[in-house]
Symmetry: C2
Amino acid sequence: MSLIVMKFGGTSVATAEKIHRAARRAVQERLHGHQVVMVVSAMGKTTDELLALARAVSPSPPKRELDMLLTTGEQVSIALMAMAIHASGQEAISLTAGQLGLRTDSVHTRARIQSIDRQRLEQELASGKVVIVAGFQGIDQAGEITTLGRGASDTTAAALAAVLGAGACEIYTDVDGVYTADPRIVPDARKIDTISYDEMLELASAGAGVMHGRAIEFGMRFGVPIHVRSSLTDSPGTRIMTETQGMEAVSVRGVTLKEDLASIVVTDIQAGVGVPAQLFSEIGKKNIVVDDIVQANHSGGSKASLALLVPSEDADHARDVVEHLAGDLGIGSVEVFRNLSKVSAIGVGMRSHSGVAGTMFDALRHADIPIWGISTSEIVISCVLAEDDGPKGMRAVHDAFDLSSPDPTSADNTD
Amino acid sequence: MSLIVMKFGGTSVATAEKIHRAARRAVQERLHGHQVVMVVSAMGKTTDELLALARAVSPSPPKRELDMLLTTGEQVSIALMAMAIHASGQEAISLTAGQLGLRTDSVHTRARIQSIDRQRLEQELASGKVVIVAGFQGIDQAGEITTLGRGASDTTAAALAAVLGAGACEIYTDVDGVYTADPRIVPDARKIDTISYDEMLELASAGAGVMHGRAIEFGMRFGVPIHVRSSLTDSPGTRIMTETQGMEAVSVRGVTLKEDLASIVVTDIQAGVGVPAQLFSEIGKKNIVVDDIVQANHSGGSKASLALLVPSEDADHARDVVEHLAGDLGIGSVEVFRNLSKVSAIGVGMRSHSGVAGTMFDALRHADIPIWGISTSEIVISCVLAEDDGPKGMRAVHDAFDLSSPDPTSADNTD
């Protein structure tokens, strides 16, 4: 007998029928003798509807009250799920974060989990019940209701799996796994069978919207295997796990595209006097998220130029902040380039495969796509492209790494 | 400076605009220097919609999970109300029953309040905030979420007013007060200016749907004046208060009509051998609510006949229960009469006015309405009528007591 954590997203609990379908999966596992913890999100578009209600009442609602409002969505789902499981003859109990003892810090709308009390969970599981936990929500030391950020029901699931030492954390969703690229842009994208936590983290932060980044961090830190799969079929999805030797057989695991970006380029900065540090400190204070930073020194190392990639909507604001600092910091000129996108290739195999960057640049060159900027990290190579070139660039890179062919590390392939 | 508890029902918080209107009332009181506790219900038809969702998932949902589900409606309202008050520049904080410490027993869907922790409330009030409390909900000793029964946000408000020693408990609703009769049936019904707790309790239990009975009990027990008024206008509503001398100037305060009733009549019971007690014990076990009981002895006191008035939907079930006992208990025959209604006249003045019953029976006789049964208590006289005669009977009784004339005890009248 093992313990399974099963998480169902909003689309997988959007109707009474879908709730019953999810309930049947949990009951099935229970009948196979497993202990089952379910984590559920708010039904369908509930969270968006609640946000619309809030906006109708106030242009800038207090975050504490937003959390009070939004957490009702998951509370509805857990109650209905418990009813559905009861209706099938199995025992079940729903628990809010407060009842469970899922403690967070007090940062409303983006709180972080601090601890999870196992006592209530283990007691209910020991009595044979399916335990249904409200995702996305927490409670701080003072008993205030918090939320973990949009999409964070994944994080609730991974954290519960970690704390309970679950054998598996299954993330049920409306797609059948993680893909080598977004199939809406790259029609021959292929489902990935296995992927490392590192790769999945980079995929998520580079724009693949399948999973919440912090959920992957939890999985990685506590060694919880995560299985992203479809709530509609029984076919295997994508397993996110610790990196194995075999994984490096593939140099690139997937390709992502991030759109709607702008670049703030600052030239002729005095190098080495802490200018970048001051700049980022100011930008951080203004709550601007910087996607990528490239610094290149020139003029014998005395001068540098710096490029910040930011979401388009933050471009004007970011430029203002940078220009405001221009005089003090000896900045030469500030330019803004808009309508950019970023294509990234991600894979732990890059570490051992040489020439990955070259293959990517060649692919873009052959497709006649100019590169506006490049940034790399250990397992990611990103090229900034004109927005119009983004999808085409993504397809070219996907092709160049032969990602539509069957995964050589796949279990299906070794049969 | 005094403390005011203001309760807003579902229709008074049904839209963002109505929430703002309610918020303005609270802010106004706050600006006048009063401390304000608001109690709010779920928006509009939310509770019915949640119940429909539950029924779509399960024909017989566990009551614990029903409470988990239904309490989300009030949580949405308190969050939005807090946002609306913040938007107007005043400080506010929403509190769930759990956060407030409103403890109940563990009887899900109809829990009773056991205690209310004043600490958090008083702390937030002392800091100048408008405190917004979720009506209808409670929490038991184990931290389980409970509800107090449909319409029980009134009870939350009255209980808070009692515990905090509030100067007033204002119940805002979509009508402008309590009426001498339902104006949809008796067009010349008049708003009642003042009414005693006893009368209001009887009105509520005899079918006037304006207020939750237990709220009135709280008001009575702790001497909290309750003011039922319109959320749309500033005009005074109905004040529910301790009985005063002046109130007895009026023999009948109001007339109610309860429809959809059936009568189970048992004849030739052996009198005095505990048959009624056994009967009611069995009926109570089957969860049948008996509206009224009339017992009449005959045959020199050795035999009795008993009539039970029950909701139509319970009639078959109640008859089965009674017939099942027939053999053992020496019951002669069991008859069921359907399509009945009950008109009641209520007033503390009955105690000192003779001839009230006579006036009522005469009124019905002049209107050619046969009386199927009569029951009386200290301040209520009820006549069972054919359902078709109900509205006409109600109008006849309302006329007979001259209830459409201005209230002689009204303050408006003594000017």
